[in-house]
């Protein structure tokens, strides 16, 4: 019974880790890429660590607490590093596929849309460049 539970946890953890790295490889935008591994990899490594804790607790007499330490450390540090990465990307003005928010005043709406339309091909042409100046909102 315990072996089936361990196998399920190990397969789930390895599959989630794989999906997280696949998202890192395949998604188009830095902000989408940030979304993939910071969630899936933490959950995958968490279930692998739970499986390891169950395995070594059933094998030895005492409860093994090393995995709990690593899990707590990863769960605390993953949001901090994701937040810092997002701050660094916003600081560098990385290219994003999401639309910029448009000012919702009545008279200038058409002018704003035109300005956005003229700016979009520039951003697309230099999509790999890191220093695309953004239009202030």
């Amino acid at each position: 019974m315990l072996e089936y539970l361990l196998s399920f946890l190990i397969l789930t953890g390895a599959t989630l880790t794989f999906i997280g790295s696949l998202g890192l490889l395949r998604l188009k935008d830095f902000y989408m890429r940030l979304h993939g591994p910071t969630k899936a990899t933490t959950l995958g490594v968490g279930s692998l660590l739970i499986a390891s804790a169950l395995f070594f607790s059933s094998r030895n007499a005492g409860i093994s607490l090393h995995e709990i330490l690593i899990t707590v450390f990863l769960v605390i540090t993953a949001p901090v590093s994701a937040h810092l990465l997002a701050k660094a990307a916003l600081h560098l003005n990385l290219h994003s596929f999401a639309k910029m928010p448009v000012k919702s005043t009545k008279g200038e709406e058409g002018a704003d849309d035109d300005a956005m339309d003229t700016q979009t091909p520039e951003e697309k042409s230099s999509s790999s460049d890191t220093h695309v100046p953004r239009k202030p909102v």
């Binding site: 490889l25 094998r59 990385l94």
Partner: protein, 89 residues
């Protein structure tokens, strides 16, 4: 059951390591590379855990804990460098 599951899981996690290494090599911007490095060390922790279960040895936990600690410090230092241009002000 466990002996047949662990090689599959090892293969999946190794493929994850290879994919994040690919993003580390050809990522178009600096935060992409830092994110790939972050994912790479988390995948390495998963690989060490699987190897510990496979070999039945509890010696890998200290290595995994050290990798987690040093990887987090490295990520924070690189992000601070990108944000401020300096690490210790």
């Amino acid at each position: 059951m466990l002996d047949s599951v662990i090689p599959i899981a090892l293969g999946l996690v190794t493929a994850a390591v290879a994919m994040s290494f690919w993003r580390l090599m050809c990522g178009p911007s600096m935060p992409d590379r830092i994110l790939a490095l972050d994912t790479l060390y988390i995948n390495t922790i998963a690989l060490l855990m699987l190897l510990g279960i496979h070999l039945g040895s509890a010696l890998f936990f200290e290595a995994a804990l050290l990798i987690a600690l040093m990887g987090f410090i490295g990520t924070v230092a690189l992000c601070k460098y990108l944000l401020r241009g300096d690490i210790i002000e």
